[in-house]
């Protein structure tokens, strides 16, 4: 299957993100990495666009929940998958309420992660299309057509 997802991996375990990124790139994904929540936000605010953000929870400086909150404020359509060794059930529920679509535990199966990334991108496209349709409908309604 031809893949073209753009993914941002956010984790302070740089060794983990570099190897995971290499494995994903070998499968056709475009992958960028950030070692902290602050770096992730800087990349997004600097204009980098991603289909999916894969985010760790426990990170120095700005933790995963804080990063998630800021990411969702920046782009409410952003598809975020939490990939962490530190999640509790409560963390998972809270993250989903804050807008994360999935919570996965480390170590994760790569094919399962790729499947979830693929689904996330499709959902994002559908969300954007739905929003565009709503905008077109609003314009048509305003013009009385």
């Amino acid at each position: 299957m031809e893949r073209d997802e753009k993914v941002l991996l956010v984790d302070d375990e740089v060794e983990f993100t570099s190897v995971l990124a290499e494995r994903m790139q070998a499968r056709g994904l475009t992958v960028d990495t950030a070692a902290s929540g602050v770096e992730a936000l800087e990349k997004m605010e600097g204009g980098s666009r991603y289909d999916v953000v894969v985010l760790d929870l426990a990170m120095p400086g700005m933790n995963g929940m804080q990063t998630l909150e800021r990411l969702m404020a920046l782009n409410p359509d952003m598809q975020v998958i939490l990939l962490t060794g530190h999640a509790t059930l409560q963390d998972g529920i809270r993250a989903v309420r804050m807008g994360a679509r999935e919570v996965m535990e480390k170590p994760a199966d790569l094919s399962e992660l790729l499947q979830k990334i693929s689904e996330a991108k499709l959902d994002k496209i559908m969300l954007i299309e739905k929003r565009m349709e709503e905008q077109i409908q609003e314009i048509l309604n305003a013009k009385g057509w």
């Binding site: 983990f16 995971l20 700005m62 060794g85």
Partner: protein
């Protein structure tokens, strides 16, 4: 330090045991994830070479193997720490190297601190500090002291742990920049520290009224 910890301290200790073992299991998951991906990449490279797409680069393979070995060593270090912590309940009172126990507790508390965006900095002396005490109680005391030091940090997010060894006592100090907001959690932890210190026969001072910093000072007898 004449009485072993009371029954209520022991029941509270069970909750502490749960927190620490959960934290250790999370740490191990992180290491397992690195080993998992490194082994996966070795597999990917081998499959690619077997299919004739790209020859195996020996230097790359050796680096990945070394990464796996290093992370296995990291996991063994975490397991050894877990083992020392688990055995701290075996004998109520024994001779403990307080500085080594401080370092273990820092490692156990590090991820929880990181979750709050705070780094723990080891400034402990490079020597041993043998004291007769209750190791499990000491773990709890030091963990609580670290937790109170990482509450509501403003400013530079780091907590410094240092200590001095005198003939009759050991003084352990935690210091951080950023003043302390007096919250319910702070009051609860403060009470826990005072109760534990009473059982351990030492004394505690929490400096929380400094304008831009806060400190916790723990004094424990050496005999």
């Amino acid at each position: 330090m004449n009485q072993p910890p009371s029954r209520s301290l022991e029941s509270e200790g069970l909750a502490f045991f749960g927190i620490v073992t959960a934290s250790i299991s999370h740490e191990l998951k992180n290491v397992a994830a690195i080993i998992n991906e490194s082994a996966g990449l070795l597999h990917d490279l081998s499959v690619g070479a077997q299919a004739g797409r790209k020859p195996l680069d020996p230097a790359r393979v050796m680096k990945l193997s070394a990464d796996i070995v290093r992370n296995v060593e990291r996991s063994v270090s975490i397991l050894n720490r877990m083992n020392r912590f688990a055995h701290s309940v075996d004998e109520p009172k024994q001779t403990v190297d307080l500085f080594a126990l401080c370092r273990d507790t820092m490692a156990l508390a590090a991820r929880a601190a990181v979750s709050r965006g705070i780094e723990l900095i080891d400034e402990l002396p490079n020597q041993t500090a043998p004291i007769p005490s209750f190791p499990f109680g000491l773990y709890r005391l030091l963990y609580q002291a670290i937790q109170i030091a990482v509450l509501d940090v403003q400013g530079k997010p780091s907590v410094h742990l240092s200590a001095t060894l005198a003939p009759t006592l050991v003084r352990v100090q935690l210091r951080r920049d950023g003043s302390l907001m007096c919250t319910e959690e702070h009051r609860t932890r403060r009470e826990a520290i005072e109760k534990l210190m009473q059982a351990l026969g030492g004394c505690v001072r929490i400096d929380e009224n400094m304008p831009d910093a806060m400190g916790v000072q723990l004094e424990l007898p050496t005999s």
